[in-house]
């Protein structure tokens, strides 16, 4: 035993040995299997608990309703499963394992592709499939006919005049490697999209415009490496918005939405030519550097508020948000310019409004058939401490509710075209008309093509990997004493191949006898 091999056999590994051991384990099939199962389990909580990145309101509601478990689950990341360290750890390990698995296999496969089929085993009848046949032909002719019978799908290596090795189905391994490599592409694509992509939401009323800068968004969700000062400089104007709803009574789908179309004019950059588009659900408008999606819609109240001397202190469309399928919409009209105190209206905009006994004012149909507003009024300080809260609700901390002449809280029930005088010297409010708004989502994902093409390649590779059969066929021919020759055929396959023996039998039977 040489000194060197003695050293290798020592049980203590040393840092390099440990690293090698860890690497080998990480890239083993067993670990990959374990990581896959872990990934499946780790993904599940995200479907059970609300996720902050998808629905922040439901998430905070949930935590509020579960004062003990909520915060604990929150600390463990159950409301942001797909951004937690434990979830990331699993897929990063899987990624490393994947790379560590694909690289050596690619090297080996390339060597196989270039090299010769393996040696012919000594005992062909020990292989999973075996067949033999006696032919009248001489051995070299017999061997040539085996080669011909194998056809072009096999790479055939005729050895020393009486043996032959052949292999087919290299594309199985190629497909498998393509699949795993493309999975790396998918993971990278998703990551790049997350880091360099951005997404913003904005509500645009009919007649309104939007230019693509960060402050114009209602919410903007940029990836960690996005420079929000450099968003693509396009602008858009919403000219019209059409909505249609099921108005056939019965059938259980009354009031269900049927079609939404937003008519847009856009320019790619200031001064560029204008283009017209019809934006629909499922049919985004692709701009250079971003795509525009129609994700929501609703109603805005176009109102005018005047003070007691008739001066306009507020006018324009105010967006209300739908709370139910009939677009019972809630919102707030904030009038900071009112004198002597700031005014804040709150309440509901109802596209087809009625007042019910038990639920109060609600909408009974989603289309604007008979619009109404049911409002209450506060006065005082709208933004105490200079903080502006949500535009859809009033912060009534520094405000008091305005009463009517009977001392009851003031209730305003108003239809388009009507004006209501406010009690005291507070002026009036006019409901000019209802306008629709479109909820637009604007998104940029620099890697979506990479992700798409990688996943399609993965699919192609997978199909090749699963459906192509890799087979090795060996032949040995010997001359028979009485003339002619005996052909022995043996075959083995990678994985399951229940048709192998059948194939070999047919191969043998199909050989020409002379």
């Amino acid at each position: 035993m040489t000194a060197q091999s003695a050293r290798i056999q020592q049980p203590s590994l040393g840092p390099l040995g440990w690293a090698r051991w860890a690497w080998r384990n990480l890239t083993s099939m067993r670990t990959a299997l374990l990581l896959l199962l872990l990934l499946a389990v780790a993904a599940l909580p995200g479907s059970i608990w609300p996720q902050r990145s998808i629905n922040p309101t439901r998430t905070s509601d949930y935590i509020a309703r579960h004062p003990t478990m909520g915060p604990i689950l929150d600390r463990l990341g159950f409301f942001e499963v797909y951004a937690t360290p434990w979830f990331s750890a699993i897929y990063l390990l899987l990624l490393i394992s994947l790379i560590g698995c694909v690289l050596p296999r690619t090297r080996i496969h390339l060597r196989h592709l270039r090299g010769r089929p393996p040696r012919v085993p000594a005992r062909l009848d020990r292989l999973p499939a075996y067949a033999e046949r006696d032919l009248d032909a001489d051995p070299d002719v017999a061997l040539a006919s085996v080669k011909a019978a194998l056809g072009r799908r096999y790479r055939v290596d005729v050895r020393d005049g009486h043996t032959l090795a052949a292999e087919s189905g290299y594309a199985k391994e190629t497909g498998n490697l393509l699949f795993h490599t493309a999975l790396i592409g998918v993971i990278v694509g998703v990551a790049v999209g997350h880091v360099w992509g951005w997404k913003g939401d904005v509500i645009v009323p009919v007649g309104g415009s939007f230019s693509d800068t960060a402050i114009n968004y209602d919410t903007l969700d940029p990836g960690p490496r996005v420079d929000t000062a450099k968003l693509p400089p396009f602008t858009l104007t919403l000219d019209r918005f059409d909505a249609s709803f099921e108005d056939r009574v019965g059938g259980g789908q009354f009031g269900q939405p049927r079609d939404f179309s937003a008519y847009l004019r856009t320019t790619d950059s200031p001064g560029a030519p204008e283009q017209s588009h019809v934006l629909k659900v499922n049919h985004p408008v692709e701009m250079s550097g971003a795509a525009i999606f129609l994700l929501g819609n609703g109603y805005a109240a176009d109102v005018t508020v005047k003070d007691s001397r008739g001066k306009v202190v507020y006018t324009g469309p105010t967006v209300f948000l739908a709370r139910d399928n009939n677009y019972t919409s809630s919102g707030a009209i904030k009038v900071p310019g009112a004198q002597p105190k700031e005014l804040g209206f709150f309440g509901n905009l109802l596209p087809t409004g009625v007042i019910t006994q038990d639920q109060g004012p609600i909408s009974i149909f989603p289309d604007a058939r008979d619009p109404k507003m049911a409002l209450g009024l506060y006065e005082g300080e709208l933004n105490p401490g200079g903080l502006s809260g949500s535009v859809y609700t009033l912060n009534t901390k520094e405000m008091t509710q305005v009463k009517d002449t009977n001392g009851e809280p003031l209730r305003i029930w108003i239809a388009p075209g009507e004006t209501v005088q406010l009690p005291g010297d507070r002026g009036s409010i006019t409901f000019n008309k209802v306008v629709r708004w479109a909820g637009l989502s604007i998104r940029h994902d620099p890697a979506k093509d990479l992700t798409l093409w990688s996943s399609l390649l993965a699919l192609a590779g997978l199909i090749a990997s699963l459906l192509i059969r890799r087979r090795r066929v060996f032949a040995r021919v010997e001359a028979l004493p009485a003339g002619g020759s005996r052909v022995r055929l043996g075959a083995l396959a990678k994985g399951d191949d229940s048709g192998l023996q059948d194939y070999l039998d047919r191969l043998a039977a199909g050989l020409p006898s002379r």
């Binding site: 995200g46 049927r258 999606f293």
Partner: protein, 331 residues
């Protein structure tokens, strides 16, 4: 004909299919029970002439007529086969009825009838039944009959009761060619996965019976007599999974393409997407396990069955209770 009338025809057709299929299932169960009972009681080495010429794929299951059979068992087997014939016919009829039901439904709503859970389940049942019938034309797969008709009955029962949705147009976000592609392929895939899971289940049962040895009394031992041997079943189950998995992969990709069109981003971790992903990962793990040396075929099959459990959860619990963007289930 009006929409309502067509919808009624569709439902009546589906109810008829349930009745016919129930009879078919009984027939297949009688077939299994009689064949099992007909097995020689001291089946030390059951006459394996009955089984298997594994040529090029699925098992060929020949009826036992080898010399080893005693007369009683032979006549029992003849009786058993008498039950299988009508069961097969009835299954064919049920398949037709489900197909007709889907057709009427499509005519009633003027769109591919794949817009809600009711329609989806009917279509998946159809795929499952049709593949079973077509397979039955080529080989004798009577032993599989009970394993196919029982889950289909469950599916159809659910589709006509708590998953029932009245025929209607789709929400705007569901009007997309990708929906049709995505859901059609998902349907086929679920049909094949169901078949694969049933064969996998049969494998585990037979495997347990074989492990107990010939002397084991009871029904398991009988099953061993009727069904193909365990390795054959296992290979069959794998073969079916190998068809279903790429289809599911495609479902995932088509769903992502559709999601990008409808909701601006191709992946939102919506509960339905989470489960589609989890199902994919679990089945990938199954294929891996099967290719990993040192992991038994039984263990791998358990992983596949876990994947099937995820499919069931996905189409029942997730559709009904989880809040997400896939509100298309319509229930």
């Amino acid at each position: 004909m009006t929409r309502e009338v067509l919808e009624q025809y569709s439902l009546v057709s589906l109810y008829s299919a349930i009745v016919v299929l129930t009879l078919a299932m009984l027939g297949f169960i009688v077939y299994l029970a009689r064949s099992a009972a007909a097995a020689p009681r001291d089946a030390v080495e059951p006459a394996r002439a009955d089984v298997l010429v594994g040529a090029g794929g699925p098992a060929v299951h020949r009826s036992p007529d080898g010399p080893g059979d005693d007369a009683a068992s032979a006549s029992g087997l003849v009786k058993a086969r008498k039950a299988a014939g009508p069961a097969r016919m009835l299954t064919g009829l049920a398949t037709l009825l489900v197909g007709v039901s889907i057709l009427f439904r499509g005519l009633s709503v003027h769109r591919p009838p794949l817009g809600n859970l009711h329609e989806f389940v009917a279509a998946a049942s159809f795929v499952l039944l049709l593949s079973f019938c077509l397979w039955g034309l080529k080989r004798n797969v009577d032993w599989l009959g009970a394993f196919v008709t029982a889950p289909v009955l469950l599916m159809l029962g659910s589709a006509t009761t708590f998953w029932y949705t009245e025929a209607a147009q789709l929400m705007p976000s569901l009007k997309s060619g990708w929906l049709v592609i995505h859901v059609t392929v998902a349907t086929i895939s679920v049909g094949v996965f169901t078949l694969a899971a049933m064969v996998g289940l049969a494998y585990l049962l037979v495997d347990r019976a074989e492990a107990r040895g010939g002397g084991a009394p009871g029904r398991l031992a009988g099953l061993r007599r009727v069904l193909p041997p365990a390795p054959e079943l296992e290979r069959l189950s794998y073969g079916l999974h190998v068809i279903a998995f790429p289809l599911w992969t495609f479902t995932l990709i088509a769903g992502a393409i559709w999601a990008r069109q409808a909701w601006a981003s191709y992946w939102n971790w919506d509960p339905k997407e989470v489960w589609t992903f989890v199902i994919w990962v679990v089945y990938a793990a199954y294929l891996h396990a099967r290719a990993t040396t040192g992991i038994s075929r039984q263990k791998a099959t358990y992983i596949a069955l876990a994947g099937f459990a995820c499919i069931i959860i996905n189409y029942s619990i997730v559709n009904m209770y989880f809040v997400g963007q896939h509100s298309y289930s319509g229930v």
